[in-house]
Symmetry: C2
Subunit: 292 residues, 2 copies
Amino acid sequence: MSFVGFIGLGLMGKPMASRLLKAGYEVVVHNRSPKPVEELVALGALPASSPREVAERSEFIITMLPDNPDVRSVIAGTNGVIEGVRKGMVVIDMSTISPSLVRELHKMLADKDVDLLDAPVSGSTMAAEAGTLTIMVGGKQEAYERALPLFRAMGDKIFYMGDPGMGAYTKLCNQIAVGLNLLATCEVLLLAKKVGLDQQKVIEVLSTGAGNSWQLTTLGPRIIKRDFRPGFKVQHLRKDLRIIREIAEQLGLPLIGISSVAELVKALDQKGHGTDGTQSLITLLEELAGMG
Amino acid sequence: MSFVGFIGLGLMGKPMASRLLKAGYEVVVHNRSPKPVEELVALGALPASSPREVAERSEFIITMLPDNPDVRSVIAGTNGVIEGVRKGMVVIDMSTISPSLVRELHKMLADKDVDLLDAPVSGSTMAAEAGTLTIMVGGKQEAYERALPLFRAMGDKIFYMGDPGMGAYTKLCNQIAVGLNLLATCEVLLLAKKVGLDQQKVIEVLSTGAGNSWQLTTLGPRIIKRDFRPGFKVQHLRKDLRIIREIAEQLGLPLIGISSVAELVKALDQKGHGTDGTQSLITLLEELAGMG
């Protein structure tokens, strides 16, 4: 049976690692804080003291971390994954990071005959628990095929997108749609509230036609109930939008819409909503409207 | 059998009037240009020479016109509907116009004991032909119930939203979602194209999750095929967004996202895309990106 390393046991990483355990893999885990490690060890996982040790004891290594610096440090830093890898292994980064960092790490690992797949996910913690994530993968096709059984333990919509970085780019495309459709949902519900429409009925009407979106039908009802618990956290959307803007700058793309969303989400984070769900964006708009 | 007046036989009005004919109503029609009148008369409609004459010969009068000034002139101008109405009649405006104009006309007609319903629609010409429009209605509930058989001949998703103007406000909510989800779709496909992703596959991936929207799955494939034929014309979206911005100003709402879309759609119209479909927005972004 394959040994799979898993580094980064947060809201998404922990249930993903747990799915691999349930699928019968030996899972070697590491995390900055010890509590989720203990929880997974109780389910049968094996603890490791560093990313390097995870790599030494595994054939595949998965990383699921917050941002570019975390991934760089875990893979390429002192006691990092790269110090423990052996020829023929596959490292799978499932975080949402910059495609340029993906390509840089891909090259570093390729020098050791190790493959890197960028395989970010879309879906909530609930989808991670149920093994129904969407997974978008970039990297060498041969490595993708070797890793496919692992992906199938964690997701049910798995897409091979092409060369290294293409998984990351696909995820950023997804976040453009997520951010703008979220803003649409908030502006719709702001106008509806201001003029005294039944907000729930507005969602129902719009969902029948050209105004329909996942954000509207999933987050809209939570906004009405003032349920701001995180399915996806403001601080993570802020980070994703920052990466999108960096890319827009590098590539000369006029991403006017998502840039406005990025400014609003930054303000929302700075107002203390970082760990709330992204639907808390409504509170910022209400405040700007004098409805707070 | 009821006589129903229908004024405004454009891309939407003509198939809607045709549905009423098929449902067995006597339909009295009027239009600025004669061609669609002739087409409907060939199907059994009765021509009238002015909005006033339509009103004189009908029990219900439907208007389906481009913008505020058209509706004002047809209902309240010289030889307008208001000169031909009788007590107890119902005027149904199905155009997308300002809620403030709805309320003004509602009051004028109420002075003659005539009801006005604001009942804008969502859906394409195809939905109008099939009788599957979404219809969102404001006005007195008793008038709504009297008009319901007419609505059922034209649409299959019919919602009573409340007082006069509430149908119009619901439609504007819809257009906020339409506009921002359209921009999301264009920014997604712009980034995807620039980095060499398979655009069709990106739509497929995003449609499985939190980035999904009607605009993405319906207009996205047309953008890829460079099919800019109108399901909904740029000039009409421009008008709707202008009305939304006027309302945002009146109500003090910070509709930052849809305001950006309004600026882009205005530029798109001015570049000669007024009668193209709204998905032609991609051409403006590509030009700004130096990809034109």
